[in-house]
Amino acid sequence: MGDLAWIFFSSMVVNNFTLMLFLGLCPFLGVSGRLDTALRMGAADMFVLTMTAVAVWFLNAYVLAHVPYLRLIAFIIVIASLVQIVEMVIKKLSPVLFRELGIYLPLITTNCAVLALAIFQTNRGYGLLEGLVFAVGSGAGLTLALLLMASIRESLDLADIPDVARGTALVLFVAGGLSLAFMGFAGLLSSS
Protein backbone atom coordinates (compact mmCIF):
# COMPACT_ATOMS: atom_id res chain seq x y z
CA MET A 1 0.00 0.00 0.00
CA GLY A 2 2.71 2.39 1.01
CA ASP A 3 4.62 1.45 -2.09
CA LEU A 4 1.66 2.13 -4.31
CA ALA A 5 1.14 5.54 -2.70
CA TRP A 6 4.78 6.29 -3.22
CA ILE A 7 4.61 5.26 -6.86
CA PHE A 8 1.56 7.44 -7.33
CA PHE A 9 2.88 10.61 -5.74
CA SER A 10 6.33 10.10 -7.11
CA SER A 11 5.07 9.85 -10.67
CA MET A 12 2.54 12.63 -10.25
CA VAL A 13 4.51 15.38 -8.56
CA VAL A 14 7.97 14.41 -7.40
CA ASN A 15 9.04 12.99 -10.73
CA ASN A 16 6.41 14.70 -12.81
CA PHE A 17 6.83 13.52 -16.39
CA THR A 18 6.64 16.95 -17.93
CA LEU A 19 8.26 19.21 -15.38
CA MET A 20 10.94 16.93 -13.97
CA LEU A 21 11.63 14.33 -16.64
CA PHE A 22 11.00 16.34 -19.82
CA LEU A 23 8.64 13.83 -21.32
CA GLY A 24 5.78 14.71 -23.60
CA LEU A 25 6.89 18.26 -24.19
CA CYS A 26 5.52 18.48 -27.70
CA PRO A 27 1.87 18.26 -26.69
CA PHE A 28 2.68 20.17 -23.52
CA LEU A 29 3.85 23.12 -25.57
CA GLY A 30 1.30 22.63 -28.30
CA VAL A 31 -1.93 22.00 -26.48
CA SER A 32 -1.51 24.13 -23.39
CA GLY A 33 -2.81 27.31 -24.96
CA ARG A 34 -6.36 26.91 -23.77
CA LEU A 35 -7.66 25.37 -20.60
CA ASP A 36 -10.48 23.29 -22.00
CA THR A 37 -8.29 21.75 -24.68
CA ALA A 38 -5.61 21.07 -22.12
CA LEU A 39 -8.01 19.31 -19.81
CA ARG A 40 -9.27 17.12 -22.61
CA MET A 41 -5.75 16.34 -23.64
CA GLY A 42 -5.01 15.41 -20.05
CA ALA A 43 -7.95 13.06 -19.94
CA ALA A 44 -6.93 11.49 -23.23
CA ASP A 45 -3.39 11.15 -21.90
CA MET A 46 -4.60 9.41 -18.82
CA PHE A 47 -6.61 7.01 -20.93
CA VAL A 48 -3.81 6.12 -23.29
CA LEU A 49 -1.31 5.72 -20.47
CA THR A 50 -3.56 3.34 -18.57
CA MET A 51 -4.18 1.33 -21.68
CA THR A 52 -0.49 1.23 -22.41
CA ALA A 53 0.32 0.04 -18.94
CA VAL A 54 -1.97 -2.95 -19.36
CA ALA A 55 -0.77 -3.73 -22.85
CA VAL A 56 2.85 -3.45 -21.87
CA TRP A 57 2.35 -5.70 -18.90
CA PHE A 58 0.90 -8.35 -21.16
CA LEU A 59 3.68 -7.93 -23.69
CA ASN A 60 6.33 -8.18 -21.01
CA ALA A 61 4.76 -11.16 -19.36
CA TYR A 62 3.96 -13.21 -22.40
CA VAL A 63 5.85 -12.08 -25.47
CA LEU A 64 8.96 -10.06 -24.85
CA ALA A 65 10.57 -12.54 -22.52
CA HIS A 66 11.36 -14.53 -25.63
CA VAL A 67 12.26 -11.75 -28.05
CA PRO A 68 13.73 -8.91 -25.94
CA TYR A 69 15.20 -7.19 -28.98
CA LEU A 70 11.74 -6.55 -30.36
CA ARG A 71 10.83 -4.54 -27.30
CA LEU A 72 10.91 -1.10 -28.84
CA ILE A 73 9.19 -2.06 -32.04
CA ALA A 74 6.59 -4.03 -30.19
CA PHE A 75 5.85 -1.17 -27.84
CA ILE A 76 5.51 1.47 -30.47
CA ILE A 77 3.46 -0.62 -32.82
CA VAL A 78 1.21 -2.09 -30.21
CA ILE A 79 0.56 1.29 -28.62
CA ALA A 80 -0.08 2.96 -31.92
CA SER A 81 -2.44 0.31 -33.14
CA LEU A 82 -4.28 0.08 -29.84
CA VAL A 83 -4.87 3.78 -29.87
CA GLN A 84 -5.97 3.62 -33.45
CA ILE A 85 -8.44 0.90 -32.75
CA VAL A 86 -9.81 2.66 -29.70
CA GLU A 87 -10.13 5.79 -31.74
CA MET A 88 -12.18 4.00 -34.36
CA VAL A 89 -14.34 2.37 -31.73
CA ILE A 90 -15.04 5.65 -29.99
CA LYS A 91 -15.81 7.30 -33.29
CA LYS A 92 -18.37 4.65 -33.98
CA LEU A 93 -19.91 4.38 -30.54
CA SER A 94 -19.90 7.93 -29.26
CA PRO A 95 -19.34 10.78 -31.67
CA VAL A 96 -19.60 13.19 -28.75
CA LEU A 97 -16.80 11.54 -26.84
CA PHE A 98 -14.80 11.42 -30.02
CA ARG A 99 -15.12 15.14 -30.55
CA GLU A 100 -14.15 15.79 -26.95
CA LEU A 101 -11.27 13.35 -26.63
CA GLY A 102 -10.78 11.35 -29.79
CA ILE A 103 -9.03 13.99 -31.80
CA TYR A 104 -6.21 14.08 -29.27
CA LEU A 105 -5.54 10.39 -29.38
CA PRO A 106 -3.26 10.29 -32.44
CA LEU A 107 -1.32 13.19 -31.01
CA ILE A 108 -0.55 11.15 -27.95
CA THR A 109 0.57 8.03 -29.75
CA THR A 110 3.64 9.73 -30.97
CA ASN A 111 4.60 11.58 -27.85
CA CYS A 112 7.38 10.24 -25.86
CA ALA A 113 5.59 10.11 -22.52
CA VAL A 114 3.70 7.00 -23.53
CA LEU A 115 6.70 5.13 -24.82
CA ALA A 116 8.65 6.25 -21.78
CA LEU A 117 5.97 4.89 -19.51
CA ALA A 118 6.30 1.54 -21.25
CA ILE A 119 10.06 1.56 -20.89
CA PHE A 120 10.09 2.65 -17.24
CA GLN A 121 7.47 0.13 -16.35
CA THR A 122 9.55 -2.57 -17.94
CA ASN A 123 12.85 -1.45 -16.46
CA ARG A 124 11.43 -1.19 -12.98
CA GLY A 125 9.71 -4.53 -13.28
CA TYR A 126 6.33 -3.23 -12.17
CA GLY A 127 3.51 -5.72 -11.89
CA LEU A 128 0.07 -5.09 -13.28
CA LEU A 129 -1.24 -3.18 -10.27
CA GLU A 130 1.91 -1.15 -9.83
CA GLY A 131 1.92 -0.44 -13.52
CA LEU A 132 -1.62 0.81 -13.39
CA VAL A 133 -0.94 3.07 -10.42
CA PHE A 134 2.15 4.35 -12.16
CA ALA A 135 0.16 5.10 -15.30
CA VAL A 136 -2.61 6.87 -13.43
CA GLY A 137 -0.07 8.85 -11.40
CA SER A 138 1.87 9.88 -14.48
CA GLY A 139 -1.33 10.74 -16.27
CA ALA A 140 -2.45 12.86 -13.34
CA GLY A 141 0.95 14.54 -13.38
CA LEU A 142 0.70 15.31 -17.09
CA THR A 143 -2.80 16.64 -16.59
CA LEU A 144 -1.73 18.77 -13.65
CA ALA A 145 1.13 20.27 -15.61
CA LEU A 146 -1.13 20.90 -18.59
CA LEU A 147 -3.80 22.47 -16.42
CA LEU A 148 -1.37 24.80 -14.68
CA MET A 149 0.35 25.79 -17.88
CA ALA A 150 -2.89 26.32 -19.75
CA SER A 151 -4.47 28.53 -17.13
CA ILE A 152 -1.26 30.51 -16.84
CA ARG A 153 -1.01 30.89 -20.59
CA GLU A 154 -4.58 32.02 -20.82
CA SER A 155 -3.89 34.75 -18.34
CA LEU A 156 -0.59 35.66 -19.98
CA ASP A 157 -2.55 36.11 -23.16
CA LEU A 158 -3.51 39.48 -21.74
CA ALA A 159 -0.02 40.48 -20.62
CA ASP A 160 2.34 42.75 -22.52
CA ILE A 161 5.01 40.16 -23.12
CA PRO A 162 8.17 41.64 -24.62
CA ASP A 163 8.37 40.72 -28.29
CA VAL A 164 11.50 38.63 -28.01
CA ALA A 165 10.03 36.43 -25.31
CA ARG A 166 6.68 35.88 -26.95
CA GLY A 167 5.90 32.31 -27.86
CA THR A 168 7.88 29.27 -26.87
CA ALA A 169 10.55 31.10 -24.92
CA LEU A 170 7.97 32.44 -22.51
CA VAL A 171 6.29 29.08 -22.16
CA LEU A 172 9.66 27.58 -21.33
CA PHE A 173 10.32 30.25 -18.72
CA VAL A 174 6.98 29.45 -17.13
CA ALA A 175 7.75 25.75 -17.35
CA GLY A 176 11.07 26.49 -15.63
CA GLY A 177 9.22 28.34 -12.90
CA LEU A 178 6.80 25.46 -12.46
CA SER A 179 9.63 23.00 -12.41
CA LEU A 180 11.38 25.12 -9.78
CA ALA A 181 8.20 25.23 -7.71
CA PHE A 182 7.77 21.48 -8.02
CA MET A 183 11.22 20.99 -6.56
CA GLY A 184 9.44 21.66 -3.31
CA PHE A 185 8.02 18.18 -3.59
CA ALA A 186 11.48 16.67 -3.82
CA GLY A 187 11.98 13.98 -1.26
CA LEU A 188 8.27 13.73 -0.52
CA LEU A 189 7.51 10.60 1.49
CA SER A 190 11.09 9.42 1.31
CA SER A 191 12.51 11.18 4.33
CA SER A 192 12.49 9.44 7.62
Partner: protein, 224 residues
Amino acid sequence: MSVETHAPEPGPPAPPPDVAPARLLTVLGVGGAVAGTLLVLAFGLTLPRIEANRARALDAAVKEVLRAPARYDTLFVVNGALTKTAPPGADPKKLEQVYLGYGTDGRPVGFAVVAAEAGFQDVITLIFGYDARDRKLLGMKVLESKETPGLGDRIEKSEAFVAQFAGAVAPLVGVKGKRSKPGEVSMITGATISSRAVIRIINKALARLGPRLEAYREEGKGNP
Protein backbone atom coordinates in the same frame (compact mmCIF):
# COMPACT_ATOMS: atom_id res chain seq x y z
CA MET B 1 26.86 20.56 -57.64
CA SER B 2 23.52 19.28 -58.71
CA VAL B 3 20.83 21.74 -59.60
CA GLU B 4 17.27 20.60 -59.88
CA THR B 5 14.23 22.44 -61.06
CA HIS B 6 10.67 21.63 -60.22
CA ALA B 7 8.32 22.58 -62.96
CA PRO B 8 4.71 21.94 -62.05
CA GLU B 9 2.37 20.69 -64.71
CA PRO B 10 -0.70 22.83 -65.10
CA GLY B 11 -4.14 21.37 -64.64
CA PRO B 12 -5.54 19.60 -61.61
CA PRO B 13 -3.70 16.44 -60.67
CA ALA B 14 -5.81 13.33 -60.75
CA PRO B 15 -6.88 11.91 -57.38
CA PRO B 16 -4.55 9.09 -56.41
CA PRO B 17 -5.74 5.69 -57.59
CA ASP B 18 -6.76 3.05 -55.10
CA VAL B 19 -4.01 0.70 -54.09
CA ALA B 20 -4.48 -2.97 -54.18
CA PRO B 21 -4.68 -4.42 -50.65
CA ALA B 22 -2.27 -7.06 -51.78
CA ARG B 23 0.39 -4.43 -52.19
CA LEU B 24 -0.10 -3.15 -48.70
CA LEU B 25 0.17 -6.66 -47.35
CA THR B 26 3.35 -7.37 -49.24
CA VAL B 27 5.07 -4.16 -48.30
CA LEU B 28 4.35 -4.34 -44.62
CA GLY B 29 4.81 -8.05 -44.41
CA VAL B 30 8.15 -8.05 -46.14
CA GLY B 31 9.21 -4.89 -44.36
CA GLY B 32 8.37 -6.40 -41.00
CA ALA B 33 10.22 -9.56 -41.79
CA VAL B 34 13.31 -7.69 -42.89
CA ALA B 35 13.24 -5.50 -39.83
CA GLY B 36 12.86 -8.50 -37.58
CA THR B 37 15.83 -10.17 -39.19
CA LEU B 38 17.95 -7.08 -38.87
CA LEU B 39 17.10 -6.70 -35.23
CA VAL B 40 17.82 -10.20 -34.27
CA LEU B 41 21.16 -9.94 -36.03
CA ALA B 42 22.06 -6.77 -34.21
CA PHE B 43 20.94 -8.27 -30.95
CA GLY B 44 22.99 -11.34 -31.48
CA LEU B 45 26.05 -9.30 -32.30
CA THR B 46 25.82 -6.94 -29.36
CA LEU B 47 24.51 -9.24 -26.68
CA PRO B 48 27.86 -10.74 -25.67
CA ARG B 49 29.39 -7.29 -25.33
CA ILE B 50 26.48 -6.03 -23.30
CA GLU B 51 26.47 -8.95 -20.95
CA ALA B 52 30.21 -8.73 -20.61
CA ASN B 53 29.92 -5.04 -19.77
CA ARG B 54 27.33 -5.75 -17.16
CA ALA B 55 29.31 -8.54 -15.64
CA ARG B 56 32.46 -6.43 -15.64
CA ALA B 57 30.70 -3.59 -13.85
CA LEU B 58 29.30 -5.90 -11.21
CA ASP B 59 32.58 -7.66 -10.85
CA ALA B 60 34.39 -4.38 -10.30
CA ALA B 61 31.85 -3.28 -7.73
CA VAL B 62 31.99 -6.53 -5.81
CA LYS B 63 35.75 -6.45 -5.79
CA GLU B 64 35.76 -2.87 -4.63
CA VAL B 65 33.45 -3.34 -1.68
CA LEU B 66 35.15 -6.56 -0.66
CA ARG B 67 38.56 -4.85 -0.89
CA ALA B 68 39.96 -6.85 -3.74
CA PRO B 69 39.33 -10.42 -2.71
CA ALA B 70 41.24 -13.17 -4.39
CA ARG B 71 38.03 -14.57 -5.77
CA TYR B 72 34.33 -14.68 -4.97
CA ASP B 73 31.38 -16.98 -5.24
CA THR B 74 27.85 -16.12 -6.23
CA LEU B 75 25.27 -17.34 -3.74
CA PHE B 76 21.52 -17.33 -4.19
CA VAL B 77 18.95 -16.37 -1.64
CA VAL B 78 16.26 -19.02 -1.77
CA ASN B 79 13.46 -18.93 0.77
CA GLY B 80 15.58 -16.77 3.06
CA ALA B 81 18.52 -19.15 3.00
CA LEU B 82 21.72 -18.97 1.02
CA THR B 83 22.54 -21.69 -1.41
CA LYS B 84 25.38 -22.15 -3.74
CA THR B 85 23.35 -23.41 -6.61
CA ALA B 86 20.10 -22.20 -7.94
CA PRO B 87 17.27 -24.62 -7.39
CA PRO B 88 16.41 -26.46 -10.56
CA GLY B 89 13.81 -24.82 -12.77
CA ALA B 90 14.41 -21.31 -11.40
CA ASP B 91 16.08 -18.75 -13.59
CA PRO B 92 19.29 -17.87 -11.75
CA LYS B 93 19.11 -14.33 -13.13
CA LYS B 94 15.88 -13.67 -11.31
CA LEU B 95 17.03 -14.76 -7.88
CA GLU B 96 18.54 -12.38 -5.37
CA GLN B 97 22.27 -12.83 -5.32
CA VAL B 98 24.91 -12.35 -2.69
CA TYR B 99 28.62 -12.58 -3.31
CA LEU B 100 31.00 -14.25 -0.94
CA GLY B 101 34.60 -13.19 -1.27
CA TYR B 102 37.72 -15.11 -0.26
CA GLY B 103 41.14 -13.85 0.66
CA THR B 104 44.36 -15.11 -0.86
CA ASP B 105 44.49 -17.61 1.97
CA GLY B 106 41.21 -19.04 0.80
CA ARG B 107 39.35 -17.85 3.88
CA PRO B 108 36.13 -15.95 3.36
CA VAL B 109 36.54 -12.19 3.86
CA GLY B 110 32.92 -11.19 3.62
CA PHE B 111 29.74 -10.86 1.63
CA ALA B 112 28.81 -8.29 -0.97
CA VAL B 113 25.12 -7.41 -0.91
CA VAL B 114 23.11 -5.33 -3.40
CA ALA B 115 20.22 -3.34 -1.94
CA ALA B 116 17.96 -0.54 -3.10
CA GLU B 117 15.43 1.87 -1.62
CA ALA B 118 14.04 5.36 -2.06
CA GLY B 119 16.49 8.20 -1.56
CA PHE B 120 15.84 11.90 -1.96
CA GLN B 121 14.89 12.01 -5.62
CA ASP B 122 14.45 8.42 -6.58
CA VAL B 123 15.58 4.92 -5.73
CA ILE B 124 19.22 4.51 -4.70
CA THR B 125 20.83 1.16 -5.56
CA LEU B 126 24.06 0.32 -3.81
CA ILE B 127 26.34 -2.58 -3.00
CA PHE B 128 28.18 -3.03 0.25
CA GLY B 129 30.71 -5.46 1.63
CA TYR B 130 30.01 -7.00 5.02
CA ASP B 131 32.17 -9.02 7.26
CA ALA B 132 29.62 -11.14 9.03
CA ARG B 133 32.01 -12.37 11.69
CA ASP B 134 33.01 -8.98 13.04
CA ARG B 135 29.73 -7.40 11.95
CA LYS B 136 31.76 -4.80 10.24
CA LEU B 137 31.31 -3.17 6.86
CA LEU B 138 34.06 -3.51 4.33
CA GLY B 139 32.99 -0.87 1.90
CA MET B 140 30.07 0.73 0.08
CA LYS B 141 29.51 1.73 -3.51
CA VAL B 142 26.47 3.39 -5.03
CA LEU B 143 25.47 1.62 -8.21
CA GLU B 144 22.62 3.84 -9.30
CA SER B 145 21.10 7.06 -8.00
CA LYS B 146 19.43 10.17 -9.31
CA GLU B 147 20.25 12.35 -6.31
CA THR B 148 20.77 16.04 -6.89
CA PRO B 149 24.08 16.75 -8.58
CA GLY B 150 26.42 18.61 -6.30
CA LEU B 151 24.35 17.71 -3.28
CA GLY B 152 22.87 14.26 -2.92
CA ASP B 153 25.23 12.78 -5.46
CA ARG B 154 28.05 13.29 -3.01
CA ILE B 155 27.00 9.98 -1.48
CA GLU B 156 28.86 8.46 -4.40
CA LYS B 157 31.29 11.23 -5.28
CA SER B 158 32.51 12.31 -1.83
CA GLU B 159 35.47 10.11 -1.01
CA ALA B 160 35.33 11.10 2.64
CA PHE B 161 31.75 9.93 2.90
CA VAL B 162 32.34 6.67 1.10
CA ALA B 163 35.52 5.92 3.06
CA GLN B 164 33.70 6.00 6.38
CA PHE B 165 31.90 2.78 5.57
CA ALA B 166 35.05 0.70 5.49
CA GLY B 167 35.31 -0.65 9.02
CA ALA B 168 32.08 0.83 10.34
CA VAL B 169 30.28 -1.43 12.78
CA ALA B 170 26.72 -2.41 11.99
CA PRO B 171 24.08 -1.25 12.69
CA LEU B 172 25.12 2.16 11.45
CA VAL B 173 24.09 5.43 13.08
CA GLY B 174 24.11 8.67 11.14
CA VAL B 175 25.39 11.75 12.96
CA LYS B 176 25.83 15.37 12.06
CA GLY B 177 29.33 16.61 12.55
CA LYS B 178 32.32 14.41 13.43
CA ARG B 179 31.82 10.73 14.10
CA SER B 180 33.04 9.56 17.44
CA LYS B 181 32.16 5.87 17.55
CA PRO B 182 32.96 3.12 15.03
CA GLY B 183 29.24 2.59 14.34
CA GLU B 184 28.71 6.20 13.41
CA VAL B 185 28.66 7.68 9.96
CA SER B 186 29.00 11.42 9.60
CA MET B 187 26.36 12.66 7.19
CA ILE B 188 26.92 15.15 4.41
CA THR B 189 25.83 18.68 5.25
CA GLY B 190 23.06 19.69 2.91
CA ALA B 191 22.41 16.11 1.92
CA THR B 192 21.27 14.63 5.18
CA ILE B 193 18.43 12.83 3.54
CA SER B 194 20.51 11.06 0.96
CA SER B 195 23.12 10.15 3.58
CA ARG B 196 20.44 8.84 5.88
CA ALA B 197 18.95 6.85 3.01
CA VAL B 198 22.28 5.09 2.40
CA ILE B 199 22.53 4.20 6.05
CA ARG B 200 18.94 3.03 6.14
CA ILE B 201 19.38 0.86 3.05
CA ILE B 202 22.37 -0.90 4.58
CA ASN B 203 20.77 -1.32 7.98
CA LYS B 204 17.57 -2.71 6.50
CA ALA B 205 19.41 -5.13 4.24
CA LEU B 206 21.43 -6.36 7.17
CA ALA B 207 18.36 -6.67 9.33
CA ARG B 208 16.91 -8.89 6.67
CA LEU B 209 19.94 -10.84 5.53
CA GLY B 210 22.41 -10.42 8.39
CA PRO B 211 21.40 -13.52 10.36
CA ARG B 212 21.43 -15.55 7.15
CA LEU B 213 24.91 -14.40 6.33
CA GLU B 214 26.17 -15.13 9.81
CA ALA B 215 24.44 -18.46 9.85
CA TYR B 216 25.92 -19.39 6.54
CA ARG B 217 29.40 -18.79 7.83
CA GLU B 218 28.80 -20.54 11.11
CA GLU B 219 27.42 -23.58 9.43
CA GLY B 220 30.79 -23.77 7.85
CA LYS B 221 29.45 -23.96 4.35
CA GLY B 222 31.45 -20.90 3.49
CA ASN B 223 34.64 -22.82 3.89
CA PRO B 224 35.28 -24.96 0.94
